[in-house]
């Protein structure tokens, strides 16, 4: 009797392991594909120009990094973000930089001069103008804001 019960169980276990093995292989393949940069969703059906170019993946990859960080709970998400979003425009402008991409706070771990970040530290930044160029100074770090596409990013200058 015990054999009769075990035999279907054994078959089941065998089938399950075969299934898991098979299932595992494509998942591995999927995972490897997932390593590549995330793609871009097409937003138009007409060519914008005669030049054929596929650009603008950097913005997406930034977002992905941010989302991943968030899921690891390495980021202090400022829940007050929306509260002061529309207030006090001419007041502490830099104080609100983080509002535009608060997930990116986790990026400020090691700053490399010449690297580009999506947003500034949440506080302690002021605007300085040197030789007609606008910089954002945050503590000992100096950033140069620029437009990457239609989004503002910051080059770490110092």
């Amino acid at each position: 009797m015990t054999l009769n019960i075990n035999k279907p169980l054994q078959i089941f276990v065998l089938m399950l392991s075969v299934f898991l093995l098979l299932a595992f292989i494509p998942q591995q393949a999927e995972a490897r594909k997932g390593d590549r940069k995330a793609g871009k969703t097409q937003t138009s059906v007409n060519k914008k120009s005669t030049r054929n170019s596929n650009k603008n993946t950097s913005k997406n990859s930034n977002k992905n990094v941010n989302v991943n960080k968030n899921s690891n709970k390495n980021v202090n998400v400022d829940v007050d973000v929306d509260v002061d979003r529309h207030g006090n425009r001419h007041g502490n402008r830099h104080g609100r930089h983080h509002n535009d991409n608060n997930f990116a706070t986790g990026l400020f771990v090691g700053l490399v001069v010449g690297s580009v970040v999506a947003s500034l530290p949440p506080s302690g930044c002021t605007t300085v103008i040197q030789n007609g160029i606008t910089y954002s100074q945050c503590g000992s770090h100096l950033y140069q804001p620029q437009y990457s596409g239609s989004s503002v990013t910051y080059i770490v200058v110092q």
């Binding site: 594909k33 937003t43 989302v67 509002n99 991409n101």
Partner: protein
Amino acid sequence: MSNKITSSLLLLMGLVISPVMHAEEKQELSSEKDLALKAMNNMSSYLRELDQFSIRANIYVDEVLENGQKIQQTKRLDISANPPTKLKISESDMSGDRELYYNGNEFTVYTESLGFYASFNAPKTIAGVIAKASDDYDIEIPLSDLFMWGTDNDSSTEVDEAILVGVDSVDGVSCNSFAFRQKEVDWQICIQRGTSPLPLKLVITSKLEETQPKYVAVLKWDTAPQLSEKIFSFAPQLGDQKIQFSPSQTNK
């Protein structure tokens, strides 16, 4: 299946009866694809003839994470256009807000919440701006199709297949739905029925992406807006700082 045939037939009849089709009824309706392309031409001509217009649109666009998960982002768009030389777009989403200005001479992108803006000398037409912004500055003009349909860069020659989907409704407005297939994208459009063939909804599926992310635009039109000339020219507010475009892009 029979429902689909019935609705396609109804749509066919509706189009044949419509005055625009009357004018061209001598031409044979050789296939569904021809009919769909004809409807697109009709819409494109109508768009190109509009004196000025305003659109309020909701955009739903998939962002694909590295693990393949799709995250849908909502964008809100306000477009004011006085073609071919004036365009103003306000766009907002969870990552912020931005405004695009084009007055026939200069193009400016402005982020009011940060107080930053950047400009470049612009070509003479909106279509030219769309190309330059994309090629040289990596800036995507939202809903650029609205300004490309009916021009030389129209993708109508790249359509492989086209079908009539049926009569649909967007925000209570009746529209004819068509579906098209191109090499890189499948797309669907719903064109308002009657004498104002406006695109009310556009769905674009990116086929080259493994997860086939979608872009959906739902449009509300005003074809007789009162637009002041002033809105198309950017005027910085006190404290706004002009910054540069990323050199890696401007050097391209």
